[in-house]
C-alpha cells in the first residue's frame, strides 16, 4: 500500500526518461561507455562464482587431482577476471566528471531561472522553502540529479547480474530464490517506510536545521564580530547552539529508532532466507551433490544476496531522489512570470507614467501600501519622491518598472497598460541607480555594459567620463579590462563607496534607457561625494523623464515637481515653492531637516538669514569649491588602487 502510494506521488518514469533524454542530448557517448561497462561488470562476478567450483572439482578428485591443473585454473581466472575487471573499473571512474557536468548544467539552468523569474519571487521570504527540493536536486555529487545519473550508469550491470544469478539459483531450488527475494522485498519495504517517516518530518527537520544553521552562521560571520565582543554574546550563542543541536539530535534519534524497529522485519526475512539457503544446500549435499557445487551455489547465493541488496538500494535511491529531480523539473518548467505581455519596448521617446487608481499590497500581506493612488509623471519631467521610511517610495518605482504587479488599478506607460509589455522590454526602458551598489566580479567594462560580448568600448569610455570615473579607471593597472573585487582575482580592484556609485551611474548612462530612476543613491556617501552625484544627475537625465527618490530633501532642488508620500500614500504634490507655501508635511520636514544647518549658520555669523533667491549664487560657489576638492581626493585614491 505504502509503496504504491509513494510511487504514484510523482511521475518517476517521466522524470527518468527526461533525464536520459537530456544525457543523450548533452553527451551521447555516455551511453556507449555505459554499454561497455554493463557488459564487463555483469560478467565479472561470475568468475568469482565459478572459480571455487572449478577448483574444488579438481580437488575433489582426491589423489587424481593434478597440481598443474590447479595452477592453470588460477592463471586462467587471473587473465579473464583481470581483463574484465580492469575495463569495468576504468569505465566506472572515467565518466564520473562527465556525469557531474550534467548536474552542473542544471545548476546553471536553475540560476538562470532564478534570474529571470518575475521579481516578486525574489522578495518572497518563503521562496527558498517552496523550491527547496528543486535546489537540493543539484546540491552535490551524491544526491539528486547527479546521484541518479551515477546510479543509472551502474544499474543495468547489476540488474543483468541479478537476472543471471537468479536463473542459475532458481534452476537448483526455487525456495532459495524466493527466500532471497522475500528478503529483498523486506529491505525495500523498510527503506520506503523509514524514508516516508523521515519525509513526514521534513518540515520539522528543516526548521531545526535552519535554527542550528542560524547560530552557526552568526557565530562564524565576521561581520557580527564587533557586536558579539562588544555585547558579550558569545556564551549566549554557544548555549543556544548547543540547545538546538540537542533538539536536532533528538529528532535524529527518533528517526533512527524507527528504522531500527522496522529492521526487525528485515532480520526475520534474512533468517528465513539463510535457513532456506543453508538448509537446501546441506540437504542436496547429503543426497550426493559435490562440495564443488555446494561451494559454487553458496557463493552464487551470497553474491546474489549482495547484488539484490545493492539493486534495492539503487532502486530506492532512484525513487527517493527522483522526487527532488521531479521538483527541479517542475521548477524549471513553471511559468514564473518571466515573459509578461507582448508589447515591445517604446523606442526613441521618453516615458510618461500614469498611476490610475492604483492599490497595492505585497503578495501574502494584508496591509495596503497604496490605496487608490493617482499620479502622473509627465514626459521629460524630473520628479522628486520624498517621504519618511516605510511610506512606499521604493515600492512605487518597483511597480513602475514592472518588478511588482499592481493589486488593483492600472499603470500606463505612454498610454499602454504596463502589464501588456514584455518584461524584458519593460526593464529595458529604465536606467536605474539604487542605494546599495552591487559591483560584481567582472571587469570594469563588463560591469558597465552588463554583458560579456559586443561591448561598445568607445561608449564605455564616454560614460565613464560623464560619470567622472575616467581618472580612477585610468589609474587601474588594466584600465577598463581590470577585474573588480578580490574574490576572483587577487589583484582585483576595490572602489570607494562614491566611486562604486559612479560606476552604477556609468552603467545607467551606458544603458541609455528611456527613463531614469534614482533610488536613494547617496545615502552612504559623504557630503562632497553626495554633491557630486547631484551634479551628475543632470547629465544622466538630459531630456528624459526622471524620478529621484530620497528621504533627504536636497533632491527637491533640482527637480521640477515633488511628490511627498507618507504612510497613507501620496500626501502632497507640487513644486518646492507651492509645497512650502502649503505649510504641510513637506514644509515641516524641510524645516526640521534644514533647521540645524540654518540655525548653525546663523550662530556662526558666517551664515545667511535670507531665504532662497539671493542665496543660490553663493551655494553654487560652494559647489565649485567642492568639485576642486573632489579632484584632489581622486588623485589620492589612485594610490589606493595601485596597491
Amino acid at each position: 500500500m505504502e509503496h504504491a502510494k509513494v510511487k504514484t506521488s510523482y511521475p518517476l518514469g517521466a522524470t527518468l526518461r527526461r533525464m536520459l533524454q537530456n544525457a543523450a542530448r548533452q553527451n551521447p557517448k555516455l551511453f556507449l561507455y555505459c554499454g561497455i561497462y554493463t557488459v564487463t561488470a555483469a560478467v565479472y562476478p561470475f568468475f568469482a562464482v565459478l572459480l571455487p567450483k572449478v577448483i574444488l572439482g579438481e580437488l575433489e578428485k582426491g589423489t587424481g587431482a593434478r597440481p598443474e591443473a590447479v595452477l592453470q585454473i588460477g592463471a586462467g581466472f587471473f587473465l579473464l577476471a583481470g581483463l574484465f575487471g580492469f575495463i569495468r573499473t576504468f569505465l566506472k571512474h572515467w565518466p564520473y566528471s562527465k556525469l557531474s557536468l550534467l548536474r552542473l548544467d542544471y545548476v546553471r539552468l536553475s540560476s538562470v531561472k532564478v534570474m529571470e523569474m518575475a521579481y516578486p519571487h525574489c522578495e518572497d521570504a518563503a521562496f527558498n522553502e517552496k523550491y527547496d527540493k528543486a535546489f537540493i536536486a543539484t546540491q552535490s555529487n551524491n544526491n539528486g540529479v547527479e546521484g541518479i545519473y551515477h546510479k543509472l550508469y551502474e544499474m543495468p550491470a547489476v540488474v543483468l547480474t541479478v537476472l543471471a544469478l537468479s536463473v542459475f539459483i532458481g534452476s537448483l531450488s526455487l525456495p532459495v530464490l524466493l527466500g532471497l527475494f522475500l528478503n529483498l522485498a523486506a529491505v525495500v519495504w523498510i527503506s520506503r517506510k523509514s524514508h516516508n517517516f523521515r519525509y513526514e518530518r521534513k518540515e520539522e527537520e528543516a526548521k531545526l536545521r535552519r535554527k542550528v544553521g542560524y547560530y552557526n552562521q552568526v557565530s562564524g560571520d565576521f561581520t557580527y564580530g564587533k557586536d558579539i565582543r562588544m555585547y558579550r554574546m558569545k556564551q549566549r550563542i554557544l548555549e543556544n547552539t548547543s540547545g538546538e543541536i540537542i533538539k536536532y539530535r533528538n529528532l535524529n534519534r527518533l528517526l533512527a529508532g524507527k528504522e531500527y524497529r522496522l529492521g526487525f522485519v528485515g532480520l526475520t526475512t534474512a533468517l528465513i532466507s539463510d535457513v532456506l539457503i543453508y538448509g537446501t544446500l546441506i540437504w542436496h549435499t547429503m543426497r550426493g551433490m559435490s562440495i564443488a557445487d555446494f561451494s559454487m551455489y553458496l557463493t552464487a547465493a551470497l553474491t546474489l544476496s549482495a547484488y539484490l541488496k545493492q539493486m534495492a538500494e539503487q532502486f530506492s535511491f532512484v525513487v527517493n531522489e527522483g522526487q527532488y529531480v521531479h521538483e527541479m523539473y517542475r521548477f524549471l518548467d513553471l511559468d514564473m512570470g518571466e515573459k509578461g505581455g507582448n508589447h515591445p519596448a517604446i523606442e526613441k521617446d521618453t516615458l510618461e507614467v500614469v498611476f490610475d487608481d492604483v492599490s497595492f499590497r505585497y503578495p501574502g500581506s494584508e496591509t495596503y501600501i497604496f490605496r487608490h493612488l493617482n499620479l502622473t509623471i509627465h514626459k521629460g519631467e524630473r520628479l522628486a519622491i520624498v517621504g519618511i521610511n516605510g511610506a512606499g517610495k521604493t515600492t512605487l518605482v518597483k511597480l513602475m518598472m514592472g518588478l511588482f504587479d499592481v493589486t488593483e488599478g492600472e499603470i500606463r506607460i505612454n498610454g499602454i497598460p504596463l502589464r501588456e509589455f514584455d518584461k524584458k522590454a519593460l526593464y529595458s526602458m529604465f536606467s536605474a541607480v539604487f542605494q546599495d551598489v552591487n559591483t560584481m566580479a567582472f571587469t570594469v567594462r563588463e560591469n558597465v555594459a552588463g554583458c560579456l560580448e559586443g561591448i561598445d568600448d568607445k561608449r564605455v569610455a564616454d560614460v565613464l567620463e560623464q560619470a567622472g570615473l575616467t581618472r580612477a579607471v585610468e589609474a587601474l593597472p588594466k584600465k577598463t579590462e581590470q577585474m573588480m573585487l578580490k574574490v576572483i582575482e587577487e589583484d582585483g580592484a576595490l572602489l570607494s563607496g562614491g566611486q562604486n556609485q559612479k560606476l552604477a551611474i556609468a552603467r545607467a548612462l551606458y544603458k541609455d534607457a528611456n527613463m531614469v530612476v534614482m533610488d536613494e543613491p547617496t545615502a552612504a556617501l559623504d557630503p562632497l561625494a553626495e554633491a557630486e552625484i547631484y551634479e551628475n544627475f543632470s547629465s544622466l537625465v538630459k531630456g528624459k523623464t526622471a524620478v529621484y527618490i530620497s528621504h533627504r530633501l536636497a533632491s527637491t532642488r533640482f527637480c521640477d515637481h515633488i511628490a511627498l508620500f507618507d504612510k497613507s500614500g501620496l500626501k502632497e504634490y507640487g513644486t518646492h515653492e507651492e509645497l512650502m507655501a502649503l505649510r504641510g508635511s513637506y514644509y515641516e520636514m524641510f524645516t526640521v531637516q534644514g533647521k540645524y544647518y540654518t540655525q548653525a549658520g546663523t550662530n556662526s555669523g558666517a551664515g545667511e538669514e535670507k531665504r532662497p533667491e539671493n542665496q543660490r549664487p553663493e551655494g553654487q560657489e560652494k559647489k565649485e569649491q567642492g568639485r576642486q576638492k573632489q579632484e584632489s581626493r581622486e588623485a589620492e585614491t589612485e594610490e589606493t588602487c595601485h596597491e
Binding site: I73, W94, Y96, N252, G279, P527, K595, E636
Partner: protein, 592 residues
C-alpha cells in the same frame, strides 16, 4: 600540516566534544573484527562435517551456528547503525559549533584580515556543499571497521602460511604505491580545483542572491552570469576529467592486482590440498576457510585503500578548518589590570595605524584629548579614517605607533573584558540577533529590568512600533532563525541598536553613522534627545549629516588620517576654507 597530525587533532576535538562517540567507534570496530572471523571460520566446520561424517545432528548444529551468527551480526549492525547515524550528524554539528566558537574567540583584528575571512570561508565549506566533515566522520568509522576486519583475516591466514600472507602483503604494498600515486594526482587536482570552485561558488551564489536581482533584471545580466557559470562548469569538468581518467587507470590496475591475489590464493591453497610441497595437506573445509579469508582479505584491502584515499581527500578539505582551530584565542593573548571605570579622560598620543599587511597609514600622528562627559563629533570624507579611530579606541586593533590613554593609562594595559564593559558602540555595520527585541536591547535573558528596556525603547522612538506588534517587546527579530519572527525596517533596527548601546552600563558611548537609515523626523528626534539619552557619558559621534555635529561640544575633523581640526562648530565655521565648513555648506546649501 600532515595527515596524521590532522587526524590526531580531529580525534582530540571529537574526544573533547563528544567522548561517547569515540567509545562507540571503538566498539563498532571490535564487533566488525569478530564478525568477519566468525564468518570465515564457521563454514569450515560445516564443510568438514559435510565431507566427513555427514551426521544430521552435526550438520544441524553447524548450519544453525552459521545462520545464527549471521543473524546476530545483522542485528548488531542495525543496533550500531542506529547509534552511529545519530552520532555522525551530532559530531559534525558540534564541530561546526566549535568553528563558530573559535571565530567568536579570535582577536578581532583577524576578522578584518581578508586572509582569515578566506580561511574561515574555506573552513565552513567543509560543512556546506561537500559535507566533508560528515563524510570524514563516517569514513573514519568505515576505515577502522575495515582495519579490524583485515586484522582478523591476517591472523587466520598466518595460521596457514606466513608465506602466503607475505605474498599477499607484498601485493598490498604494490597497491599502496598505486594509491600513493593516485593521491599525489589528487592533491594536484585539489590545488587546481579549489580556486576554481571558489570562483564558481561566487558566481552561483551571486546569481541566487536576493540583493542583486533588481540589477540583474534591469540591466539584463542573467545571460552574462549564466555564461560565466557555464564557463566554470566546463572548466571544472575538464580539470576533473584528467583526474578521473588517471583514477580509472590506477583503480583498474588495483583491481587487476586484486584478482591476482585471488588467483594466487586459490592456486596456493589448492596446492596445499593436492600436494605437500608447502607443508602438511589440508582438507576441503580448511580450503574453503583459507580461500575465503584470502579473498575477503583482498576485497577488504581494496576498500581499505579506497577509504584511505577518501580520508586523505577529506582531510585535505579540512585543512582550513584545522588551521583555524589552531589559531590562538583572544583571552590567551590579552590580560592586564582590571579597568574599574568610569572613563574620565581619553588621550590619543601621536597614534599611527596601518592595517595589517598594508603600507598605507590610515591614521597618521593622531593626537587629541577628551574630557569626561564631552560629546565629540568625528567628521571627514569617506575613507578618512574615522571608523578606524573608533576601532582603535574599542581595542579591536592596536595602534602601530603612539598610545591611547584612558584615565592616564595605556588602554592595552587594561584587562580586556573589564575595559570593554565600559564601552558601548553602535557600529556602522551593527548586527542584531534573532532574539526578542527586549533581549536585543538588554543582551540578557528575558524579563530582567523590563522597565529600563521599555524606557529606552520609548526614548529612541520605538514604542509606537512595539505597540503594533502582538508580542510587543517579546517579538522575535528577523526570519533567519524562525519563520514567525518579525523583520523590522532599517530605521527601526537602528533604533534597537541605539537602545542596546544605551542600555549597556558603559561610561563611553560611540555612535558610528547611527542615523543613516532613519528618516529626517526620526533623525532629528535622535539628535535632539541624544544629549539627554547619553546623559553624563562621554560620547563619540560619527555622521555624514553635518547638522548632527551642531549638537556636539567639539568636532574632530579627520582628513587623510590626520587631525585637521579639533574645535567647536562655531570656531570651525569661521575657517572659510576649512574642510568642515565646506562639508557643512555643501549640505546646508540644499536647505536655504
Amino acid at each position: 600540516m600532515n595527515n596524521w597530525k590532522k587526524l590526531k587533532l580531529f580525534l582530540r576535538l571529537s574526544w573533547k566534544t563528544v567522548p561517547s562517540y569515540i567509545v562507540l567507534l571503538l566498539v563498532h570496530t571490535l564487533v566488525s573484527g569478530a564478525q568477519v572471523a566468525l564468518n570465515v571460520v564457521l563454514p569450515k566446520f560445516l564443510i568438514d562435517e559435510l565431507t566427513g561424517g555427514c551426521e544430521v545432528r552435526g550438520l544441524l548444529f553447524f548450519g544453525g551456528l552459521v545462520v545464527g551468527s549471521n543473524l546476530f551480526f545483522a542485528w548488531m549492525e542495525r543496533f550500531m547503525k542506529r547509534r552511529m547515524d545519530v552520532q555522525h550528524t551530532y559530531v559534525s554539528q558540534k564541530m561546526e559549533q566549535l568553528l563558530g566558537e573559535k571565530v567568536m574567540s579570535l582577536p578581532y583584528a583577524r576578522l578584518e584580515d581578508p586572509y582569515y575571512l578566506d580561511l574561515k570561508e574555506r573552513a565552513a565549506f567543509a560543512f556546506l556543499n561537500q559535507e566533508a566533515m560528515l563524510n570524514l566522520i563516517t569514513g573514519l568509522a568505515a576505515l577502522l571497521q575495515k582495519g579490524s576486519t583485515l586484522f582478523g583475516l591476517t591472523v587466520i591466514l598466518l595460521t596457514l602460511s606466513p608465506v602466503l600472507a607475505a605474498v599477499l602483503l607484498v601485493l598490498v604494498g604494490v597497491m599502496v604505491l598505486l594509491q600513493k600515486r593516485l593521491s599525489v594526482e589528487l592533491q594536484k587536482i585539489h590545488e587546481m580545483i579549489l580556486p576554481i570552485n571558489r570562483r564558481y561558488g561566487y558566481y552561483v551564489t551571486l546569481a541566487f542572491s536576493d540583493a542583486i536581482q533588481k540589477d540583474i533584471r534591469l540591466y539584463n545580466m542573467a545571460g552574462m552570469l549564466g555564461d560565466r557559470i557555464d564557463w566554470y562548469n566546463q572548466d571544472m569538468t575538464n580539470t576533473f576529467d584528467t583526474f578521473r581518467r588517471q583514477e580509472g587507470f590506477y583503480m583498474g590496475l588495483y583491481n587487476v592486482i586484486n584478482d591476482l591475489q585471488a588467483a594466487i590464493s586459490y592456486g596456493y591453497v589448492g596446492l596445499r590440498v593436492v600436494t605437500d610441497w608447502f607443508g602438511r595437506r589440508i582438507g576441503l573445509g580448511s580450503f574453503t576457510m583459507y580461500v575465503n579469508a584470502a579473498v575477503q582479505f583482498s576485497a577488504n584491502i581494496t576498500e581499505f585503500g579506497q577509504r584511505i584515499v577518501d580520508l586523505q581527500k577529506l582531510l585535505g578539505y579540512l585543512d582550513p578548518f584545522m588551521e583555524l582551530m589552531e589559531l590562538p584565542e583572544e583571552t590567551e593573548v590579552l590580560e592586564g589590570v582590571p579597568f574599574t571605570g568610569p572613563v574620565e579622560s581619553i588621550v590619543f598620543e601621536k597614534v599611527d595605524f596601518a592595517y595589517p599587511g598594508s603600507e598605507k597609514k590610515v591614521l597618521d600622528q593622531v593626537s587629541f584629548s577628551v574630557k569626561k562627559g564631552e560629546k565629540i563629533a568625528v567628521v571627514g570624507l569617506n575613507g578618512a579614517g574615522k571608523t578606524t579611530l573608533i576601532k582603535l579606541l574599542c581595542r579591536l586593533y592596536q595602534p602601530c605607533g603612539g598610545r591611547i590613554l584612558v584615565n592616564g593609562q595605556d588602554i592595552m594595559s587594561y584587562d580586556y573584558a573589564s575595559y570593554m564593559a565600559q564601552l558601548a558602540a553602535v557600529f556602522q555595520d551593527y548586527r542584531l540577533f534573532a532574539f526578542t527585541i527586549e533581549e536585543n536591547i538588554s543582551c540578557r535573558e528575558t524579563g530582567q529590568d523590563r522597565n529600563k528596556v521599555e524606557k529606552l525603547a520609548a526614548q529612541v522612538g520605538l514604542s509606537e512600533k512595539i505597540k503594533e506588534l502582538p508580542e510587543g517587546l517579546r517579538t522575535l527579530l528577523g526570519k533567519a532563525y524562525d519563520e514567525e519572527g518579525t523583520e523590522l525596517s532599517g530605521g527601526q533596527q537602528q533604533k534597537v541598536a541605539i537602545a542596546r548601546a544605551l542600555y549597556k552600563d558603559a561610561s563611553l558611548i560611540i555612535l558610528d553613522e547611527p542615523t543613516s537609515a532613519l528618516d529626517p523626523l526620526a533623525e532629528a528626534e535622535i539628535y535632539e534627545n541624544f544629549n539627554d539619552l547619553a546623559g553624563g557619558k562621554t560620547a563619540f559621534y560619527i555622521s555624514h549629516r553635518m547638522s548632527s555635529s551642531v549638537f556636539c561640544d567639539k568636532i574632530l575633523v579627520i582628513e587623510d588620517g590626520r587631525v585637521a581640526d579639533f574645535a567647536s562648530h562655531e570656531e570651525l565655521m569661521k575657517k572659510e576654507d576649512g574642510l568642515y565648513r565646506r562639508m557643512f555648506q555643501a549640505q546646508a546649501g540644499n536647505y536655504v
